[in-house]
């Protein structure tokens, strides 16, 4: 892993509602990079540790460790923050009802909402930045080199503000976001990698918090999206909430216990609900069995039929977007050659049945694609796109992704109607040029309101931004001719430029995004900006290497106490001592690579000792194991943790 020149690698990141992953291209296949605990999925959960005894800022943990804190200190933990990304206060009322998000008390309308976590407050992009930073560190640990560039996936149906918020989060985490890629398109890339196909495919992406459908045409390595549709507030979370609500109501009715006032108990119940849901994908029935705070037990059986009846309205909400996407692409279900299933919720049999019905699969002797792990496929596709952008690999040089904008772009016209300037499902980058003039004598400002959405009235669409064209030379009303160019870039984010044509003067534009952080705000929220610096990265590697050295030295220190030690020849004992002394000396130096090498040498020198110890402890000797591995299997004999176990950096 410690190859010399791996800097400049671009990683692919799936920043999910429930789980997040980072992947990269190894040769010509994308691979997920495991986290410190060896698992691929990093739960999108962020927790604030208790305030340190001496005071100061508490540290932030991410992933499985954070999830453990969910039941004990729910007020210091946040999950599903993706639901809040790029959204204003008035848009998240539903979320606030269904999820234990605690808004800071002083949040006002028009501001980016801030979440109260213990004694601190964070904007949604900051929370996401902590998740991204964890993934960045996992990748850096894996490569032994800094990672500064990434492709991040977003739901295809994310609007401008949600995309911008995701990009902001990347910047805060010290990542240059080379591209935002739509999740279903990424999945198509992951599937399309090993087979140059011609055909039309539909990607049905039902994740933890969002639903997307995309229809693509594949030809000679070009992935051309024809149409996309979806719902950014529809996912497995909604199914969990259904089960949770029923359980809470029944507990209240049968036992008189209102768990809603016990956040920790609600979390435990939610966990049980998720387990029940997962069980029902393979079992015909499942059990709820929860001990209540008053000692009672809440026990309930849920047969699969009941579960399916319960979730039908949620699943049915995915049908509309699928039909609209087909109609926008001008296709009938029969014209879809293949369907790809993405997202954990597609494991539910009822979802598969619905997809089968929507695309008339069974009648045509077809089955949806599920070969790739639905939890990982988006990250794998992001890694493919990262490789395309890096432009360094033969395997992706023929591939090109042509995506579309999910929502129409319009400007508010007289009477509050919307004049559409870029239609939904236009291939991006896309542009439109509009001309504006003044209505009053000598007017020097023109205000433009840009909206996103398909409704006729601007007030029914999503307000994107208000632009003020300033510095128009004073002229008679109607005389200035201001050319405004709207451009949706390859990330699906709007850019605007303007020019007064008669004077040739570039009009100044003041962009007031309706929802979102200003550049200065983002700048001030960059997580430990030293993350950028090479020297600090080296510092971190050094600390990590020293910790590893300490661990194995401590284990070797206690080696003579083990009966196995006596079985080593004098020569072998001397070799261990030499390697130990060498590591003790090198450890004081500043070179992490040298320390790692010496650590490895000591680990090798103790190989036979580890084997002997295994033989002594268990009857079946495990040959070829190093002390490190033996230690893992024999926690009792060697108390040190895995010598190569990562140090925690906070």
């Amino acid at each position: 892993m410690a190859e010399s020149n791996l800097t400049g690698r671009v990683v692919g990141i799936d920043l999910g509602t429930t789980n997040s992953l980072v992947a990269y291209m190894e040769g010509d296949a994308p691979v997920v990079i495991p986290g410190v605990d060896g698992t691929n999925l990093v739960p999108s959960v962020v927790a604030l540790d208790p305030v340190p005894a001496g005071g100061g800022r508490p540290t932030v943990t991410v992933g499985n460790t954070a999830r453990k804190a969910l039941i004990e200190t729910p007020e210091r933990v946040i999950y599903s923050v993706k639901r809040l990304m790029g959204r204003g206060l008035e848009e998240i009322q539903d979320e606030l009802r269904m999820f234990p998000f605690r808004l800071a008390e002083d949040v006002e309308a028009g501001e980016v909402p801030r979440i109260q976590l213990g004694e601190l407050r964070f904007t949604p992009p900051e929370i996401s930045a902590y998740i991204l930073r964890q993934l960045k560190r996992n990748a850096e640990r894996f490569f032994g080199a800094p990672v500064t560039q990434a492709v991040i996936t977003v739901p295809a149906y994310f609007n401008d503000a949600q995309r911008q918020a995701t990009k902001d989060a990347g910047r805060m985490a010290g990542l240059e976001v080379l591209r935002l890629v739509n999740e279903p398109t990424a999945a198509a890339l992951a599937y399309g990698l090993d087979r140059a196909k011609v055909g039309t495919i539909a990607v049905y992406d039902f994740g933890g918090g969002t639903f997307d459908i995309s229809i693509l045409k594949l030809r000679d390595g070009i992935f051309e999206v024809q149409s996309t549709n979806g719902d950014t507030h529809l996912g497995g979370d909604d199914i969990d909430n259904l089960l949770l609500t029923i359980a809470l109501d029944e507990i209240y009715a049968e036992h008189g216990v209102n768990l809603r006032s016990h956040p920790g108990a609600v979390q435990a119940l939610r966990k049980a609900a998720i387990e029940a849901k997962i069980n029902l994908s393979t079992e015909q029935a499942t059990q709820f069995d929860i001990e209540l705070p008053n000692g009672d037990r809440y026990q309930r059986e849920i047969p699969r039929e009941v579960f399916e009846m319960l979730i039908e309205p949620v699943l049915e909400r995915t049908a509309g977007p699928c039909k609209r996407a087909l109609s926008d692409a001008g296709l009938t279900p029969e014209q879809i050659d293949e369907v790809v299933l993405v997202g954990g919720s597609t494991r539910i049999p009822a979802v598969r049945q619905l997809v089968d019905d929507l695309f008339h699969l069974k009648g045509r002797g077809k089955k949806p694609h599920t070969e790739l792990n639905p939890d990982e496929v988006v990250a794998l596709g992001a890694a493919v796109q990262a490789d395309i952008l890096a432009g360094a690999s033969k395997s992706t040089e023929e591939m090109l992704l042509l995506d579309v904008t999910p929502l129409s772009l319009g400007i508010e016209a007289l009477g509050g109607t919307v004049a559409r300037i870029i239609q939904r499902n236009s291939t991006i980058p896309a542009s439109a040029t509009e001309h504006f003039t003044t209505g009053v004598e000598g007017q020097t400002n023109v205000a433009i309101h840009v909206v996103q959405g398909e409704r006729e009235l601007a007030s029914d669409c999503r307000s994107l931004a208000r632009f003020d064209l300033k510095g128009i030379p004073p002229m008679s009303a109607g005389l200035p001719r201001i050319e405004v160019k709207f451009l949706i870039d390859a990330d699906g984010i709007l850019r605007v430029t303007a020019r007064e044509q008669r004077s040739g003067q570039a009009a100044k534009i003041e962009v007031k995004p309706t929802y979102g952080l200003t550049d200065e705000q983002v700048e001030s929220m960059i997580l430990d900006s030293f993350d950028h610096a090479e020297e600090d990265f080296a510092k971190r590697l050094l600390i990590e290497a020293r910790n590893e050295a300490e661990t194995i030295l401590a284990a070797v220190e206690r080696a003579p106490e083990s009966p196995a030690w006596a079985f080593l020849t004098g020569e072998e004992q001397a070799a261990v001592a030499a390697a130990r002394d060498r590591l003790s000396a090198v450890k004081l130096g500043e070179d992490p690579a040298a320390i790692r090498d010496a650590t490895l040498a000591l680990d090798q020198a103790t190989r036979r000792f580890a084997e002997l110890m295994m033989e002594a402890a268990v009857t079946t000797a495990i040959r070829g194991k190093t002390m490190t591995e033996a230690g893992e299997n024999l926690g009792e004999a060697v108390t040190a943790p895995h010598a190569m176990a990562p140090a925690e950096f906070k």
């Binding site: 591209r179 090109l400 291939t427 991006i428």
Partner: protein
Amino acid sequence: MLKVLDSAVPIACWSCSIGHNDSTLFCPHCSKIQPPPGGDFYQVFGLDRRFTIDLPVLEHEFHRLSRKVHPDRFARAEENERQWSLADTALLNDAYRTLKDPLHRTEYLLKLEGAEIGEEHSGKERKDPSRVPADLLEEVFDLNMQLEEMRMARKMGEDDPALEASLSQAKSKFDGLLVAVDQELVAQWTAWDAGDATVRKTAQKTMVSLLDRRRYLSNLVRDVTETLGSTTSSQR
């Protein structure tokens, strides 16, 4: 405006300084990406101005140019090349979107040729009764009455199968008229593409009025479809 819209005006490549025509996305000499050219959508694809287009050829050319010009190919390039790649790709996409669609292409070329035509995608509906094609006046009047009746019946939660059948019948009739308009448009394309200045002038005029008629008819069909659609869905 002093800018002469003549593609023969040479422009110097920013990279190799050799002159080239202002209609190319790439320098023919050093292959470097160029700032967005000043030509029209046809020039982006190196096509002559014609209404009839070979769509598979257009698609193939779109893919070939996309591979070269797309921002994905310039992710790590210098800032100015990245900006040009973005602007050039937007132009390429806008051009492809316009030319591949028969109606957008017809409107676009008519405009290039100086014809004044109504805006198709301004989001404004055309319900101006004076624009009703003369031969359809009576039928349109009847149809609008029926539509109104149907909406009222819906609101009251009533079913009127006779009215529904009559509307469906009207819809198929107008659908048929739409097909006829499209066939006539294609005939005019062919005439224009092959004709001299006089033929083209006549064809252009005919196409402008055909487009007006088409717009009117498709709005009508859409209204009927919507009204009928809401009927069937509320019956479920």
